[in-house]
Amino acid sequence: MSTTQFLAEAITRTSSGEAVVFWFLGPVALAAALAMVLSKNTVHAALWLVLVMFCLAVFYVVQDAPFLGAVQVIVYAGAIMVLFLFVVMLVGVDYSESLTETLRGQRVTAILLAVGFGGLLLLPIARAVASTSAQGLGESGFNDNVGAIARVLFTQYVFAFEVVSALLIVAAVGAMVLGHRDRRDERLSQREQATRRFTDPEHQFSPLPGPGVYALHDAVDRPALLPDGSPARTSVPSEYADSIDQAYDEVLNERSRRTSIEGSAGPGSAGPDGPTSVERESTAGRDQR
């Protein structure tokens, strides 16, 4: 007996292995679905939904539908969720879902109704199918699942299959029509773009200055100093814009400290003629270290 045959045997009846899979992944799927509904961040919601879909794919494989399991992973968890994430990134991740309700008491009512709906759905199912046993799909369940589906799909359901292909084309064209946007203004030519680079006062055509050049430190958040001693605001990333003024204060402090050292140390410690210019240079050098 080959491995696949053995697997097929094990799968047509509810084995204890399947029970383990169900009782492990079922709560995971439920928790992930709840987390999807409750998460504030849209990207997190999408990722939780991916987890639910993976769990469902495992359930499909366990339940004699390995082809659907593979399609679930490829189409749902792969294609559709990537599309979702694209749109989330396009629209922008905003955390600011408004907490004010448009309809008063809508959330409470919705949750109450949903609990009732869930009860109506769950209890009759639990009663009606309390002692069901699975008939199983036998050979077409695992060993020849793709072949069996193909046989049914291309004979009995061939018309539906063709209609679905038409639907897919219509959907693709519709998405393109909806996503298309007409240009309102004329597209700039290369010459006009090049002219604008130099006439636009906002635009800087030289490279940005590096951080920390001529400053006291060469850390990334320390701005470069211009020849007149003021900080060059474009030399640090905009994230560190707060530290520019602080760094400028440091520069001013350092400058006043140096002048005061030079002023006080000058006449006292040096000779009667005061420090020579060479001595003054060396003092400044020591201060810098």
Binding site: L68, Q72, V88, S98, V129, S140, I149, L178
Partner: protein, 99 residues
């Protein structure tokens, strides 16, 4: 294990999807909740296919997946179009047809 447990699980997932559609106001999350409901129904179809020993359920689940893919493409395009004109993905802001 009773295979009907899958039916109960999918009913619970469907209910959670309903809550998401009713409670959230972000159009994208509502859309994801609808996907969750479709997936729950797919699980039901696969389970019944196995209980009854017939492949039809799997075929229908396959068609549901295809239709869901088409639906997602068009729906997301609509959401992007709405976002372009209203610059918001919240369903509360799309109320121009109300008056």
């Amino acid at each position: 294990m009773n295979p009907a447990n899958y039916l109960l699980l999918s009913a619970a997932l469907f209910t959670i999807g309903t809550v998401g559609v009713l409670v959230r106001s972000n159009a994208l999350v509502i859309f994801m909740s609808i996907e969750l409901m479709l997936n729950a129904v797919n699980l039901t179809l696969v389970t019944f296919s196995r209980i009854n020993g017939s492949l039809d359920g799997q075929i229908i689940a396959f068609f549901v997946m295809v239709v869901a893919a088409a639906e997602v493409v068009v729906g997301l395009a609509i959401i992007v179009t709405i976002f372009r004109t209203r610059s918001s993905a919240s369903v509360d802001d799309t109320n121009l047809l109300k008056y």
